[in-house]
């Protein structure tokens, strides 16, 4: 990697991470481990995998998730989730307002200083690019979250049309302090 990941995370407020799907698990782990080193509370939005899978995978890799607070937008859509103290379940991945409210609540109640959005490109499955960008805008300009670091994961080839994915990246790059291509 041509950059120091931890340094970039410490230095920047809004980071956009681009990665290939085949590298996704490994690269995401690098990011999470680097964020973990900052010893801060993390609001983790699980957009592409349910909370149960994400938390288990993190623990299996030896990552301490005691500082993680999750927002799961998938499980409730398919079944009644088992209640978890460190997770809010949003009923519908299409309900951007509910996701935003869950993020605000988690950040405020748990005093998280990092928001990790895994993965923002997956939102394109549910709504058009401009709605996803607008949602992101609202997240970036949310009052009371000026000091919260926002880390967004984008898969370069997510299961959405390439053109839409590129549009999303171009629009988000206008606001990102840095875009890091993780390969």
């Amino acid at each position: 990697m041509a950059f120091d990941l931890l340094r970039e995370i410490v230095k920047n407020k809004f980071l956009l991470f681009l990665m290939e799907e085949k590298e996704y698990v490994r690269k995401l782990e690098e990011i999470i481990k680097s964020v973990g080193k900052t010893k801060t509370k993390i609001c983790y939005v699980c957009m592409s995998k349910p909370y149960a899978d994400v938390s288990k995978e993190l623990e299996d890799r030896g990552i301490d998730i005691s500082n993680f607070f999750f927002i799961d937008v998938l499980t409730s859509y398919y079944k009644e989730p088992e209640p978890a103290g460190n997770c809010i379940f949003v009923r519908n991945p299409n309900d951007f307002a509910a996701i935003r409210a869950a993020i605000s609540r988690t950040i405020s109640e748990k005093q998280c200083s990092v928001l990790l959005f895994d993965t923002i490109s997956t939102m394109l499955i549910y709504q058009e690019t401009s709605s996803v960008v607008k949602f992101t805008h609202h997240l970036l300009s949310e009052k009371g979250q000026e000091n919260v670091k926002k880390l967004f994961i984008v898969l370069k080839h997510d299961t959405v049309p390439m053109e839409e994915n590129q549009k999303l990246v171009k629009d988000l790059e206008m606001f990102a302090d840095k875009t890091l291509d993780m390969g």
Partner: protein, 123 residues
């Protein structure tokens, strides 16, 4: 002397009305459009002195609309300023320079500041 013409493009109806009222009161002739498609359609017959373009709109983002304005030989030299809720990053401001964007106004804005910025661009 002919009034300077300003096109405001925003999907928030209340904001369009407010900006139209403010700028009309300042002596400008105002044209409005509620999305990028309507803006590009109106630009086929209208050449405003300034386009105030919201970054986040349904269908096409302000960036996409601006790119299309710049691609078209008939509109490529029109003055554009963005309206935005989120703040542009340094990288974003570089993109604005490349797109020859005159300025950007953060929403919500102070009315006097918005007028001052518009006057600075179109006089």
């Amino acid at each position: 002397m002919a009034k300077k013409r300003i096109m405001i493009v925003d999907d928030e109806e209340s904001l369009l009305q407010l900006m139209e009222a403010i700028l009309t009161n300042e002596g400008y002739q105002v044209i409005t459009a509620s999305d990028g498609k309507e803006c590009l359609e109106k630009l086929k017959t209208d050449k405003p002195d300034l386009i105030l373009l919201d970054m986040m709109m349904p269908g096409m983002s302000g960036r996409e609309v601006c790119e299309k304005i710049r691609e078209n030989p008939k509109t490529k030299n029109l003055k554009v300023a963005f309206l935005t809720v989120a703040k542009f990053s340094e990288a974003g401001r570089d993109v604005l320079k490349k797109m020859n964007v005159a300025d950007y106004i953060n929403k919500p804005f102070d009315n006097d500041d918005m007028i001052r910025r518009v006057k600075k661009i179109v006089g």
